[in-house]
Amino acid sequence: MIQQQSLGEFEELVLLLVAALHDEAYGVAILENLEAKLKKKVNISAVHVALKRIEDKGFVKSRFGGITEDRGGRRKKFYVITALGKKMLDNQYALRTSIYQQIPKISFG
């Protein structure tokens, strides 16, 4: 079941950040963190699309934050990783590690 659920590269990055920013993850925060980590410009629309997709897939769930002054009275939408999302990340990680370990010990260079 989990194997059938797909997770794109960018989606995975966003999901990782949601998990890392636990309970403080919302659009702009994720964007800024992503830009810092990746060291390149990311567009807010890309983040929102990715968030919507992973929410539809059930990897994150969301809640609304309180009304704050600095956003002109608009709420933030905070994302939290779900158990399914965590499991997905674990699987991905395990998969990558296992394949990585199959790389023969050849010295490059």
Binding site: Y26, G27, V28, L31, N43, I44, S45, A46, H48, V49, K52, R53, F64, E69, D70, R71, G72, G73, R74, R75, K76, K77
Partner: protein, 891 residues
């Protein structure tokens, strides 16, 4: 709020709020605002605005856009989708009916689309003039003519400009420029006008080369078209070059008509104009500055018309009104001019000057003496009427078949009603179905159109009309609009009819009122067949008329004659050279070709007689003309060879003898005649046998004619060649011509072909009416096929039972066809007399008419019956052949 003055672009914010999914909108907007504020602080307003716009545009993607189903109002889109789906399924399920509907509609629509294209093509004329809403052409209407003339008196433009403050500027185009310009051995034939500098102020023509502010100011300045510039100068720069111009009096309009060549002097090219880029009703190869006119009439090469108010056919006047003045002001001013200038002119009493707005010129009303040929709006009305009849017929098919199928769909309608559909919803459903069918038909029609366009352009008349018929966005817009209209109108009756169905009746499958009462359908079908019968008879009739004209006896022998245009060469020289050739039997000359559309007129009276002048047609020929054309001299002698002493001799025809009141041709010989206006006296030397010198479509009775010899007026050499080796003889003639005139190309045609060509207009009408007849009968038969198919399908079980009970095939065919045969019979009973009388009515006004007897109508009826019977028969035959076991098994 803290950032009242600093907000992102409002439009994009609104746009975002509009498209964004309502569930996501609030917090994505929050994020956007947070980023915006941050960027505003860091990078300033412009960068922040830009980024905001980019963000909004990038968010415009499927997962963010709110679903079209609507968030709050779920139902509408869902229902529409359902209607669409059901429509597709219905179309797919009843392939035969759908095909009949779509194909019939497509055929009719393609005709209508062609007319839309024609109109769109015409509307592209004169669009480039910046002041087009203020430009008016002045038409002259004299009481005795039905249609106004496009031309107006010569002094009008200057009078308007100087005396009336409502006129900002006025210009006129004076025809009469038509001849050859020569530049370093290269010659080009050109036709055009004199024009003054105001031409470029009134109109917005742009010059390809040259300065348009000065192009027409100085005398002997000339503007030529790019084509002519290319012939004369090849790749050289044309501006500033001088050419020698010899005027041959070529008309700006028709191919023929020329006068004695006159040398007009040298001209400087001041401009080159490209007509391809500027579509206008004003077409010319050359414009000569109007200031040249003064010097030309000083040399007596053209007439002085500067104060001639009585001639209105030799000038085209255009005025430009001041922006604040209205057409009414112009009408008033023109009225004043007429009152001032024409009150004392007895001949022109009642003359009217009318301002015609520039946009109303193409397509415009029918005008006499036009500046260029175009199809008058009346023709469009006529064609649209025909197309409308066909469209109506196709629409009726749809209406009929959909209504007839009500019973099949009764269950669907019933279930929909029971589950809560209102009548309105069902109407929408049926309308969406008909509109979908109309759009499918539109696609097919556009494919058909691609075949029709070349066929239409191939019509004879189109060599004068230059239709390009380009397709562009605005034309497609009209197509779509038209399709919507067709869909709506075709679907509206079945929609109202079917939606009225009572659900209980529908589900119980009671064959209630509407299956038996097909009165409306029958009425519509019958009218379709009446229209078809009318079209068929008319096209047969016109075809007969055309054949009749082709076989008409002109009274002279045109077959061995080749006509050569002299193009300004001396006839004696041409005749001497050509008569040396073997294969040339004899040569004569004339000023125009009889029976090809041209004619000149004069009036004569017997010297000393009290009687009125008699109008005659004048033909100038040499003395060999009568022999050459095998025309008999019935009394007196033929014209003598030309010399100064003999120029008073004339020949008249038998008709003139009668009109002058003589019983016998010999009585008129030797009689002296006085010509109207000039007072010149002639002596009748002989009487020539009557022959047709007018086109068959022009006049039936042969009019009085006089023939005399004026060598200076001869324009055509009529060369009679031997029947054997015609092509060799022609080749030799061409070689000889090249020696005589190296400048002009040989222009020669067989006379019988030229005569046949004058009937080409009829060929066009036959093709158009024939095409409409074909479509009308096609569509009517398709409708009949649909009805027949439906009826046999509905009664397939009944037929099975009948067959089991022992009915014969013949009886079954009769049973099924009976209703349709009645319809066919009714349409013939009504249609035959209608088409007989209507066609007879217009035929009365047609000269040289063919007999229109019962035979033509019977032939039309035969075609109609034949096609109708095949259509019905195919279905009923199939049904009667079916094995009853197959049809009865499934129950």
């Amino acid at each position: 709020m803290k950032h009242n003055s600093q907000h992102p672009p409002k439009f994009f914010l609104k746009f975002f709020r509009w498209f964004c999914h309502p569930k996501l909108q609030k917090y994505i907007e929050g994020d956007l605002m947070e980023l915006y504020d941050e960027r505003l602080r860091q990078k300033g307003k412009r960068k922040a605005d830009l980024k905001f716009v980019i963000d909004v545009l990038l968010l415009f993607r499927p997962s963010i856009i709110k679903p079209a189903e609507g968030y709050h109002h779920l139902n509408e889109y869902g229902m529409l989708k359902n209607y669409f789906k059901i429509s597709i399924r219905t179309i797919w399920k009843h392939k035969v009916f759908s095909f009949i509907n779509i194909f019939g509609l497509a055929v009719a629509m393609s005709i209508c689309m062609l007319i839309i294209l024609m109109l769109a093509d015409q509307h592209r004329y004169d669009q480039f003039h910046g002041k087009r809403d203020r430009i008016y052409r002045i038409l002259t209407k004299i009481p005795k003519s039905l249609k106004p003339n496009a031309s107006s008196p010569f002094p009008l433009a200057s009078a308007m400009k100087s005396d009336y403050s409502i006129v900002e500027d006025a210009t006129h185009l004076v025809p009469g420029v038509g001849g050859d310009a020569v530049y370093e051995q290269r010659s080009a034939e050109m036709r055009g006008f004199f024009a003054d500098q105001s031409f470029f102020n009134v109109f917005s023509f742009e010059l390809e080369k040259g300065n348009k502010d000065k192009a027409l100011t100085s005398p002997n300045a000339m503007i030529i078209s790019t084509e002519i510039a290319h012939i004369l100068f090849k790749d050289e720069e044309p501006i500033g070059k001088t050419v020698e111009f010899t005027n041959r009096g070529l008309s700006h309009l028709v191919k023929d008509g020329e006068s004695t060549p006159t040398y007009w002097g040298t001209y400087t090219i001041t401009g080159v104009i490209d007509h391809q880029k500027q579509k206008s009703h004003i077409k010319f190869g050359v414009l000569i500055s109007a200031s040249t006119i003064t010097s030309l009439h000083a040399d007596e090469k053209i007439r002085d018309m500067s104060d001639n108010w009585s001639e209105y056919s030799n000038c085209y006047t255009y005025v430009l009104l001041h922006p604040e003045n209205t057409p009414e002001d112009l009408t008033r001013a023109l009225g004043e001019i007429v009152a001032h200038k024409y009150t004392n002119a007895a001949e022109l009493k009642g003359l009217k000057l009318i301002g015609q707005p520039l946009p109303a010129i193409t397509p415009g009303i029918f005008v006499g003496n036009p500046i260029s040929f175009s199809l008058p709006i009346e023709v469009y009305y006529f064609l649209s009427f025909l197309a409308f009849a066909i469209m109506l017929s196709a629409g009726v098919n749809y209406t009929n078949l959909s209504t007839a199928r009500a019973l099949t769909r009764a269950k669907e309608i019933g279930v929909r009603k029971v589950t809560g559909a209102k009548r309105k919803d069902l109407i929408y459903q049926f309308l969406s179905e008909s509109i979908l069918i109309a759009f499918l038909a539109m696609i097919l029609a556009m494919i058909l159109l691609q075949f029709m366009k070349p066929a239409f352009r191939g019509l004879w008349v189109n060599q004068y009309l230059n239709f390009e018929l380009p397709e562009n966005i605005s034309v497609y817009f009209y197509f779509v609009l038209f399709t919507l209209l067709v869909g709506l109108l075709a679907g509206i009756y079945p929609a109202f009819r079917l939606s009225k169905l009572q659900p209980i009746l529908a589900i119980q499958k009671k064959e209630s009122s509407f299956s038996k009462k097909l009165g409306m359908q029958k009425f519509l079908s019958v009218s379709q067949f009446i229209i078809s019968l009318f079209f068929i008879t008319t096209s047969i009739l016109i075809y007969n008329q055309f054949k009749h004209h082709l076989s008409i006896d002109y009274g002279f022998n045109a077959k061995p004659i080749v006509n050569i245009k002299l193009q300004g060469n001396d006839y004696t020289k041409v005749s001497n050279e050509l008569s040396k050739l073997p294969g040339v039997i004899s040569i004569s000359a004339s000023d125009y070709l009889p029976a090809t559309g041209t004619q000149n007129g004069t009036a004569l009276k017997i010297v000393g007689s009290e009687k009125d002048y008699l109008s005659l047609t004048v033909l100038v020929t040499d003395e060999k003309f009568a022999d050459n054309f095998a025309l008999k001299i019935v009394a007196g002698k033929n014209l003598p060879a030309f010399n100064q002493a003999a120029d008073r001799f004339i020949l008249v025809n038998e008709s003139a003898v009668n009109k002058f009141g003589y019983q016998h041709p010999s009585e008129i010989v030797g009689q002296l005649m006085e010509q109207y206006n000039t007072g010149e006296t002639f002596e009748v030397i002989g009487v020539i046998k009557d022959f047709r010198f007018r086109m068959p479509s022009e006049q039936e009775a042969i009019a009085p004619l006089m023939i005399y010899d004026r060598p200076a007026s001869l324009r055509y050499a009529n060369v009679k060649i031997a029947a054997a080796n015609r092509s060799q003889t022609l080749a030799k003639i061409e070689d000889t011509w090249k020696r005589i005139d190296p400048v002009h190309l040989l222009d020669c045609q067989f006379y019988d072909e030229q005569l046949a060509e004058t009937n080409q207009g009829l060929v066009d009408i036959v093709s158009i009416i024939g095409c409409f007849a074909f479509l009308a009968i096609l569509i009517a038969c398709l409708g009949l096929l649909g009805m027949a198919t439906y009826t046999t399908e509905r009664r397939i079980k009944e037929i099975g039972i009948r067959k089991v009970m022992g009915a014969e095939n013949r009886a079954i065919i009769w049973l099924l066809s009976k209703g349709f045969l009645k319809m066919l019979a009714l349409s013939i009973i009504v249609g035959a007399p209608v088409s007989y009388f209507v066609n007879n009515f217009w035929l009365q006004y047609f000269p040289n008419r063919v007999d229109f007897g019962i035979g033509t109508v019977l032939f039309g009826i035969f075609i109609l019956m034949f096609l109708g019977l095949i259509t019905i028969g195919s279905q009923t035959w199939r049904a009667s052949k079916g094995n009853p076991a197959d049809t009865l098994r499934m129950e």
